[in-house]
Amino acid sequence: VERTMFQALHMATAEEMERDPAVCVVGEDVGHYGGSYKVTQQLHYRFGNFRVLDTPIVENTFTGMAIGASCAGLRPVIEGMNMGFLLMAYNQISNNGGMLRYTSGGQFEVPVVIRGPGGIGKQLGPEHSQRLEAYLNAVPGLKLVMPSTPYNARGLLKSAIRDNNPVVFFEHVLLYNLKEEIPLLPYTLPLDKAEIARPGKDITLICYSRQRHVCTEAANRLAKMGIDAEVLDLISLKPIDLVSIKKSLQKTHKCIIVEECSKTGGIGADVMAQVIETCANDLDELPMRLSSKDIPTPYNRLLEEAVVVKPEDVVNSVVWMMASRGGVNVMPKP
């Protein structure tokens, strides 16, 4: 069946709620309003106001409440109306979401999913264009997952709900209306496996979320130039699937890391460090990062575009890297 991303997420949520009465949804306007991006539309008719709980505007409290409820056996799905709003809940996410299981010596599990829209949309301004994956990456105990297609969104969200660890599940505002043919029957997908979005043999583009599509577009353009790029969609930002990365690099020996978060403190730095540590022997070029600029996302359209990585940036960098073989910026042999 053909489904958009928000429909796929809706299916996943409804299916899991049907399957397990402990699964519930908590957040602002998830009930009567149906969720700001319609992921929980009409679920309150089916499951009641209590299982699809409209909360007041109290991010720290409802996140903490969901975590407390998960300690007592529920499996709440917390919707951030925009993931950025959950900065208000940072303490609950990190201290209690991420660390409570450890602090309690393994006695309490925190099977929550924290999901919602994030990323740079269309001129939403600095506060509504945040990329919390970079802010939360250092918190121990969390899994960070980012779907990128209706197909993987459905399977991943279902797995996230069933996982007994806290999972932060980042959806991208600009992908909700992406359409795709997906299976009718339910399926789950592993949370920790990268996906090869486009196989290739010349260079690996390591990316996630919306940048998967940016990279795929770039790869298509590169193909016309005779360069065969592999697009590796991380899916899981934490932990990173180094096995898949290594496998790809053993084939291509080159990579560019493409991310939407800004460079400093970003996901790309982590990927780069880990690639250097574990795949240096497989590389014959230094990895490179393409990130958003270290700037709050401006409202103006031209400025906003100037901040993020576009397909042409990827194309340029690939061409440059392919051309520079034997160039100067290479780790010298000892």
Binding site: E28, D29, H32, Y33, G34, S36, D54, T55, P56, I57, V58, N60, T61, G84, F85, L87, M88, K122, Q123, L124, G125, P126, E127, H128, K293, D294, I295, P296, P298, Y299, N300, R301, L302, L303, E305, A306, V307
Partner: protein, 370 residues
């Protein structure tokens, strides 16, 4: 200086949840015209934004203020230029009332370099250093401690720096939805402890996007929540600009004199959806109709006519005059330059302090270290 205003005898007004005893200020003709024009400016400006949004000139999340004009005008027009206003994402009209030009606000909505924030902020982030407008905040309740801070600075400058003779007052706007956020009560307590010159204005329009106030709030009377935190509180008909002005004038005066904070709960309504992207499917037509009948601008126009301050003709003239201001703002925004993409990083950081210069110590200073 504002002309003398007195307070009228109590008048009974129907409100959505109880009968509200409201006092109105008695204004002279000039003040009445000023209030009327400010409300009309707010209304026409917002209607124009909607048009420009649907034309694709204005983007992002855009929240209009239609219906609530009596609150912005009633409160902010009591303020001095050096007073502070802190607002939410529904901030254009507050900005206009505070004296920011329609041009700079419209240009910001267009994302132009001539916008008040040079196109960096957009609809939800109006700021003006010139007009002490701080600011436009997109996240619920985050503006409240910021407002506490400008109020703190006023008190601090008078008491600890002696640089100000009297205090600038801060008016902090928030919605009914925001009033369930605990930060408000933290700020109440601190404002009361320090007797800060701040006025909290809750614009209770009964809805927070799709969440009705009654579903989100155990005790819907928000004004009841001030006193346990030391903040005297008052409820007012937010559709009546003179009633709002009456309570605001008192609150601002009290704040300025160092007698501490006030909470004003203004009962009002937004005539449009939450934002221009909101299908607005949950509010009942009957409810909307009841409130539309109490349009603050229409009502105040009637009042002015009754008082002999205006005629249909002068009201129309006023509207026309405002229309020109609004049209001019659009022209200005259209013809303004875009920011340069190469300047995208401008304004992230300001100049660094240059360390290591020799410290200029007086001999007296030096003695201290001996």
């Amino acid at each position: 200086p504002a002309p003398m205003e007195t307070v009228e005898s109590a008048e009974l007004l129907a409100s959505k949840r109880n009968v509200l005893r409201t006092r109105r200020v008695n204004v002279d003709q000039k003040v009445a015209q000023m209030l009327y024009e400010d409300m009309v400016l707010g209304r026409q400006f917002e209607d124009m934004i909607a048009q420009m949004y649907y034309k694709g000139r204005v983007a992002g999340f855009v929240h209009l203020y239609n219906g609530q004009e009596a609150v912005s005008t009633g409160v902010i027009k009591c303020l001095r230029p050096d007073d502070y206003v802190s607002s939410t994402y529904r901030d254009h009209v507050h900005a206009l009332s505070k004296g920011m030009s329609a041009r700079e606000v419209m240009a910001e909505l267009y994302g132009k370099e001539t916008g008040c924030c040079k196109g960096r902020g957009g609809s939800m982030h109006m700021f003006s250093a010139e007009h002490n407008f701080v600011g436009g905040f997109a996240f619920i309740s985050e503006n409240i401690p910021i407002a506490l801070g400008t109020a703190f600075a006023s008190a601090y400058k008078r008491d600890s720096m002696g640089t100000a003779k009297d205090m600038s007052v801060t008016c902090c706007f928030l919605g009914d939805g925001a009033s369930n956020n605990g930060i408000l009560y933290e700020c109440f307590n601190m404002a009361s402890l320090m007797k800060l010159p701040i006025v909290f204005v809750v614009e209770n329009n009964s809805w927070a996007i799709g969440m009705s106030h009654i579903r989100s709030t155990a005790v819907p009377e928000i004004y009841k929540r001030g006193p346990p935190f030391g903040v005297p509180s008052v409820e007012v008909d937010g559709m009546d600009v003179l009633a709002v002005r009456a309570v605001a004038r008192e609150a601002v005066k009290k704040a300025r004199e160092g007698r501490g904070p006030t909470l004003i709960e203004a009962l009002t309504y937004r005539f449009r959806g939450h934002s221009l992207a909101d299908p607005d499917e949950l509010r009942a037509p009957l409810e909307k109709g009841a409130w539309l009948a109490r349009d603050p601008i229409e009502r105040f126009g009637e009042y002015m006519k009754k008082r002999g301050f205006a005629s249909d003709y002068t009201l129309k003239l006023a509207k026309k005059k405002i229309r020109e201001i609004v049209n001019d703002s659009v022209k200005f925004a259209e013809s303004s330059p875009e920011p340069k993409p190469e300047d995208v990083g401008k304004y992230v950081m300001t100049d660094d302090f240059q360390a290591g210069q020799p410290e200029n110590l007086s001999s007296e200073d030096l003695r201290k270290y001996a």
